[in-house]
Symmetry: C2
Subunit: 228 residues, 2 copies
DNA sequence: GATTATTATTAGCTAAACCTAAATTTATGT
DNA sequence: ACATAAATTTAGGTTTAGCTAATAATAATC
């Protein structure tokens, strides 16, 4: 009976590696050090795991050349991303978590919930399109809306832009942005882009100005707003 | 700096062993084979783990003599039981799971949620006292309501009893009982207790009679009802 | 193009949880 | 009390997922 090999569920470590490659490289390929940094795991351990993922058909890997996701690898990564973002939405909307707290809890829960749980949760939430940070939630069939937003640092001066999402990597960054209301949906006018030090100065709807350095302008993503 | 040893979270395996000992023996002691059977793990593996749990101060263990929980062990077991039962309540009440499905999902999630999550969930649910199977939910401080209910098999004939809880161990059993409305809260009159084969015949509120064999009478727990 | 620096791999270990098979201890039956 | 049966432990593996230190390959610099 070919095709009957019981495919036991992938471990949470494996899932986190696939998500890391997806986050770092999307459809391209990620290097050992990049993955190592993203997961806080020693480079040697990454080398070892990439070999295993290749065996399992989840990744294409060439020594010294990095790894990229196969179809199955990408599928699994997106399944986890869907779970992660739905869980974040639930924690914020139903359990009263703050914007900054949701990520860590979701990072663990994404590996423990079943597909059943995930879809029932999506139902309860009304099938949201975006998570609290503004990241699009992959559909149950693995489809993901293409993202055309760009980092604030790369936006042109003078333009009116709307915050589309905020990186959920750093808690201090989320704290800072949250306090100032620099959250998805907010409308901004770009007053100055200083190439010397990368500082971008923006004005928000309330007339407040904010001068944001590199790490912040890389964490805030925007879309150009039709003139209004 | 004594007392500063970073106490990293206990693994889910460890948690399941502690819960098993608690479920099998409560404050008494459980044997290697009992634990082995409950967890579907080889006896040799149990011996090994009991040694480790002893080292960790979670269990009192004497070779060939079984293991009992220490204060810390019991505390951890009850923390997990609290999570488990709150999660079951959530799955049934908010996600539309059936009575039979909740257990397996909770068995995994109990290890992944934080204390924060647990307490916020308790809040959302309105601090329920019992889970869907009728099991009491331990309080956040580790207190647990004493249980004075007894298996249907041990109830006296002629009495009016109310179902207080139903064992959540076997899905077929839950299926059977659920279909017939033999759920916590249901009032029954015991019509016959046949000691020959352990079959108990009961009549429910709707006048239906049910003849239940050993495995079922051991799964249904009741309390005597004040005359009405 | 040779040298140096960076990146990645290999080699060798560890710990957690499991397993099977063999030995040993405890309990039971006559 | 002794033999047998049942329960338990010991001995010796395995797999997963990590680590450090040493080595090798690739990339960058002079
Ligand atoms: Mn994760
Ligand atoms: Mn997010
Ligand atoms: Mn469990
Ligand atoms: Mn239950």
């Amino acid at each position: 009976m070919p095709g009957t090999e019981t495919t036991r569920p992938l471990s949470s470590s494996i899932g986190d590696y696939l998500k890391a490659i997806w986050a770092l490289a999307g459809t391209g390929s990620a290097s050992t050090t990049e993955v190592s940094g993203h997961l806080s795991v020693a480079p040697a351990s990454v080398t070892n795991m990439l070999g295993r993922l290749q065996e399992m058909g989840l990744v294409r890997y060439e020594r010294y050349r990095g790894a990229s996701l196969t179809g199955r690898g990408r599928e699994e990564a997106l399944r986890l991303v869907r779970r992660h973002r739905l869980i974040e939405s639930f924690l914020l909307g139903h359990l009263g978590y703050s914007w900054q707290e949701v990520h860590d809890e979701a990072e663990r829960l994404e590996h423990a919930v079943s597909d059943e749980f995930t879809e029932r949760l999506a139902e309860l939430l009304g099938h949201p399109a975006h998570d609290p940070h503004g990241d699009p939630i992959p559909a149950a069939d693995g489809t993901l809306e293409p993202d055309d937003s760009l980092p604030l640092g790369e936006a042109g001066v003078g333009g009116r832009v709307r915050i589309s999402k905020v990186s959920d990597e750093s808690i201090p960054v989320l704290d800072y942005l949250g306090e100032r209301g620099l959250v998805p949906g907010r409308l901004l006018i770009i007053r100055e882009v200083r190439h010397l030090d990368g500082v971008v100065t923006v004005e928000d709807e309330g007339g407040e100005t904010h001068a944001l350095g590199g790490p912040l302008t890389r964490a805030v993503f925007v879309r150009e707003e039709a003139a209004g």
